[in-house]
Symmetry: C2
Subunit: 173 residues, 2 copies
């Protein structure tokens, strides 16, 4: 079992975007710079998150990305499913029906016991991911991380954030 790098990148980006004021955005280039990633490839994952309704993209100059809803309403599961797909990790091939002694499909009304057990485990995994929100991650970062790291992030945001277009930045929290 293996998760792609995009999951880690997506969560980190979401956590950073969560620290923006309402309406503010951050360009993909700035996010890539902050984490030392390839801007082109990061863009691919940000696009995916936008498609899935987790981020909102603002086109044109001074555009960028922001969270589509409050960080407390975005779970790690949302991001993982957007990047990796929502399908189950264990895909039952129904090999119990593939032998030489197979019965008609009607003889298998219940799901395979193995499949059921594997899916139960996956539900436990998903539940744990759903219980953790991006806001929780941010809170832990502020509580546990080195103060210099927190200050650096704050400074980075002040330097690269893009105000909401059209009207001056308003606090609508």
């Amino acid at each position: 079992m293996r998760l792609g790098r995009g999951v880690e990148w997506g969560i980190h980006c979401a956590a950073l975007l969560a620290e923006l004021g309402p309406g503010e955005t951050l360009s993909a280039a700035a996010l890539a710079l902050k984490f030392g990633l390839s801007p082109s490839y990061l863009l691919k994952h940000l696009k995916t998150l936008t498609r899935d309704g987790i981020l909102v993209s603002v086109p044109g100059p001074a555009g960028g990305y922001r969270l589509a809803r409050s960080a407390a309403r975005i779970s790690l599961l949302d991001i993982v499913q957007a990047i990796e797909g929502s399908g189950p990790a264990f895909r039952c091939c129904e090999i119990r029906q593939h032998g030489p002694e197979r019965l008609p499909p009607a003889a298998y009304p219940r799901p395979c016991a193995i499949n059921a057990a594997m899916l139960r485990a996956e539900r436990a995994w998903r539940s744990a991911l759903a219980a953790e929100s991006v806001a929780d991650i941010v809170a832990r970062f502020h509580a546990e991380a080195d103060p210099r790291s927190v200050a650096a992030s704050r400074e980075f945001l002040a330097r690269y954030r893009r105000p909401q277009r059209g009207r001056p930045e308003r606090a609508t929290v």
Copy 2:
């Protein structure tokens, strides 16, 4: 996230081997026939399970595979880890240290909050898999499956099982 087919195959094979008498074996060819799989490729996974101490292989003519210990002591987690590897699905790249404003490594004594959350979820998944044994799977099969299917398995075993070498089959349960 995606699990290979070998996991499903391995569990099915272990469940079938669990129905053998003590010391009896089943050849890889018989297992492949029972499930309609490629014998060559199935052999690859059986080899892996043998390496990991879940199965025992008996070489030579009339050889085959049997469980290395009682089915109650083999969990689904054992099989999944043998096939897929025991490493974590989420591999933290420490990208928080890769930006332009990185601090010396000593400034990150605690693990990344994101990594911690992902690993917590994986522990939940592993716990669920560890709680289910191959014996449980077999019990469910006997309790829930179509009687014809159970009878077919019993008949298959009677046809293809290999007795313990050297001495006649003894019941040492």
